[in-house]
């Protein structure tokens, strides 16, 4: 069981590098979507005999992270009429190298942290740290609003991965609420993206520099 879970987490971590290396927004959105779906499957792998509620949560995660949010983002992308993030603040090769270094750092850090015996073999903590790091890197390093939203999604994915450690103890109600928040957040961000585009005629957040001292 841990083996299968680790394979899934490894795939999610590999997608990080793909996300850092691409400048095409459709691929970035697809990567975030696939990563979200992988995450949605994980609770079913962890629990040998999943309850109906758990099945529903997994299904909701897959639908929201894998279908709803990407389609919202694609719509924002089409209205904004852009599909590339050509000149990021941190360009692709350095961000790939940073991402790879971050991944190694995450694995090393996870081994030094005190873990419960049943989590020693799993990559949950390492994967979660790597995803959070990649998300932050995309948030800081990219200049287009949609890439930053994708970075935020990967950050949230990392946090969700950490939340799986607590799957037996955190009431599912809380997890449901968290999922809901994510959707609303992206929905709101989508509206704002639309408005920025209409007002500034660009999605380049570097142009948002009127407000400063």
């Amino acid at each position: 069981m841990t083996q299968l879970l680790n394979v899934l987490i490894g795939l999610a971590m590999g997608l990080n590098l793909a996300a850092l290396g691409t400048g095409r927004l459709p691929s970035l959105i697809r990567i975030a979507a696939v990563q979200g779906m992988l995450l949605g499957v994980m609770p079913l792998v962890i629990e040998r005999e999943p309850s109906v509620l758990l099945l529903l949560i997994a299904l909701a995660t897959i639908i929201i992270k894998g279908l709803v949010i990407p389609s919202l983002l694609r719509r924002a992308m089409r209205t904004a009429n852009i599909d590339r993030d050509l000149d990021p603040l941190i360009s692709f090769v350095p961000s790939l190298l940073l991402g790879a270094a971050g991944m190694i750092g995450a694995v090393a850090l996870a081994q030094r942290l005190p873990l419960l015996p049943e989590h020693h073999e799993s990559l949950l903590v390492a994967g979660s740290l790597a995803l959070v790091f990649t998300g932050l890197l995309l948030l800081i390093g990219r200049s287009k609003a949609i890439s930053q939203v994708c970075g935020y999604l990967i950050l949230e994915n990392g946090i969700y991965l950490f939340g799986l450690l607590l799957i037996h103890s955190v009431p599912l109600l809380v997890e449901g609420g968290i999922l809901l928040d994510l959707t609303v957040a992206v929905f709101v961000i989508g509206i704002i993206v639309d408005r920025i585009q209409r007002t500034f005629d660009t999605l380049d957040t570097r142009k948002l520099t009127v407000l400063r001292e």
Partner: protein
């Protein structure tokens, strides 16, 4: 169970307001819900419920010590909101009024939350609810501010969720059940895994510190406060920030129970002093009087964090300071809104001589500035004096010295801007706008009442409030 009304009444009012068809009468939902909420909050202040009614929610001593201040501030903003939205009748308020009401309900929920996950959900939804109110002005500048608010605030909120999970894992690692209620975590404090508690503390401090606007996570604040309408700025500065402060206090209590209070206090002390310093330096250079209020807010968040770090009498003074800061900031934001509308500008290059054009608002703004820079006999003077005294009494002499130096710099920075605006000759450009805005009673009384409340707290803080603050201090750090 009646405490639940504090959350439900504003949310219900928000729902009704969303369905209400008439743009002109819809703003009246604000004062109606405000009065009901204030009656409930002060009723529970006078007659506290015996025990929290649920393990996830409850009007416990900490909520009792802070929530009435937010309720009072909201009441002031609500009465100001009616004439304000009448002035802005060209814009639909169908989204603004419900969002503003819902944020009051969610702020109440966050204050009453006794579970890490519930607290997080409430804080996140408060953030999202403030978005429509923030870009009410619909200008490119407002969108820029909203985008920064979402991006920085969203990242902060995400990190605080990770911190909450880490705290849960600390409990799981210590043999607990991963129970995320504050009572449960504090009771098993000894068994929590120390390293996970420290990781959680760092993440939660960064996360909720972003929401509170502590430096260096404060970057969204000047933009958001500068662009938001006055009533929204007042609720952000005096309401939403208190949510993050309560959250940090509750988490600090868990860290203390885990035996790591020294680390928590040291980080709070450093980040608090750093915030006051950064704010004081920016106050010396800003030329915009609404952004000035944001830096002043950062300064006061730093003072709160310092008070919490000192603990005991310092914490008591910090709770006192929450009231003073919320009420005075309310008066400042509302009077600044009047000046801004009358002058048509917001920097000292565009605005001057407002003492002649809008004498009442300018007078209130000046008095409010003196209050917030800790001039006696206003409340902030006494709470800051108490914080300095408790810092000296606990051997934090250098911290008190830095704080006093920063307060002096902030005083210079604030008075520099405010005197430039209030005195001098009215500009010709602002004379052309004459007749667009009139100082009516409706826009003067709310800030006046808030300022008088801050004055009243300074002259004689009611006994019941003093008891409420003592009870909250006892709840957070129980004397063995």
């Amino acid at each position: 169970m009646n405490e639940l009304l504090l959350i439900l009444v504003p949310l219900l009012a928000a729902g009704l307001a969303a369905a209400w068809p008439d743009n002109h009468t819809r703003p009246w939902f604000l004062p109606v819900a405000g009065v009901a909420h204030a009656c409930l909050a002060f009723g529970f202040l006078l007659k506290p419920p015996a025990a929290p009614f649920h393990e996830w929610f409850g009007y416990d001593p900490l909520a009792r010590a802070i929530l009435p201040a937010v309720s009072l501030l909201f009441l002031g903003c609500a009465f100001y909101g009616v004439p304000y939205l009448r002035l802005r009748s060209e814009r639909s308020n169908r989204v603004f009024v419900p969002a503003f009401l819902a944020s009051l309900g969610l702020i109440s929920a966050a204050h009453m939350a006794r579970h890490l996950g519930v607290l997080w959900i409430a804080t996140e939804t408060v953030t999202l609810c403030s978005v429509p109110s923030l870009h009410f002005n619909n200008t490119p500048r407002a969108f820029e501010a909203t985008w920064k608010y979402l991006l920085v605030g969203g990242t902060g909120v995400a990190l605080s969720l990770l911190g909450s999970f880490c705290l849960g894992y600390a409990s799981l690692h210590g043999g607990g059940s991963g129970d995320l209620t504050f009572a449960g975590l504090t009771a098993r404090g000894e068994e929590l895994s120390r390293s996970w508690v420290l990781i959680a503390w760092v993440l939660l401090l960064v996360g909720y510190g972003t929401k509170m606007g502590l430096a260096p996570m404060h970057t969204w604040k000047p933009d958001a406060y500068g662009e938001a309408p006055g009533i929204v700025g007042a609720m952000l500065a005096g309401g939403v920030t208190t949510v993050a402060f309560t959250a940090l206090l509750r988490v600090r209590a868990v860290v203390e129970a885990a035996g790591e209070s020294a680390v928590a206090n040291r980080t709070l002390l450093v980040i608090g002093l750093f915030s006051t310093l950064v704010a004081a330096l920016f106050l010396l250079s800003t030329r915009d009087f609404k952004r000035m209020l944001a830096y002043s807010s950062i300064e006061h968040m730093g003072i709160l964090s310092l008070g919490a770090a000192i603990g005991g009498a310092g914490l008591w003074a910090a709770l006192f300071h929450v009231w003073n800061n919320s009420l005075t900031k309310g008066a400042l934001f509302l009077s600044a809104g009047n000046i801004r509308r009358a002058a048509g500008g917001r920097t000292i290059d565009e605005v001057s001589g407002m003492g002649l054009r809008t004498p009442a608002s300018a007078g209130l703004f000046l008095a409010g500035t003196l209050a917030i820079t800790a001039c006696p006999p206003f409340g902030p003077f006494f709470s800051e004096l108490l914080i300095v005294r408790s810092a000296l009494a606990t051997g934090h002499g250098w911290a008190a010295a830095v704080l006093l130096a920063c307060l002096l710099l902030a005083f210079l920075g604030l008075t520099r801007v405010v005197f430039a605006i209030v005195y001098g000759r009215p500009r010709t450009s602002s004379r052309q706008l004459e007749g667009k805005f009139r100082e009516t009673t409706a826009v003067i009384v709310p800030p006046l009442v808030l300022l008088l409340a801050a004055l009243g707290l300074g002259l004689a803080a009611p006994q019941v409030l003093r008891e409420a603050w003592t009870a909250a201090v006892n709840q957070l750090s129980p004397v063995p």
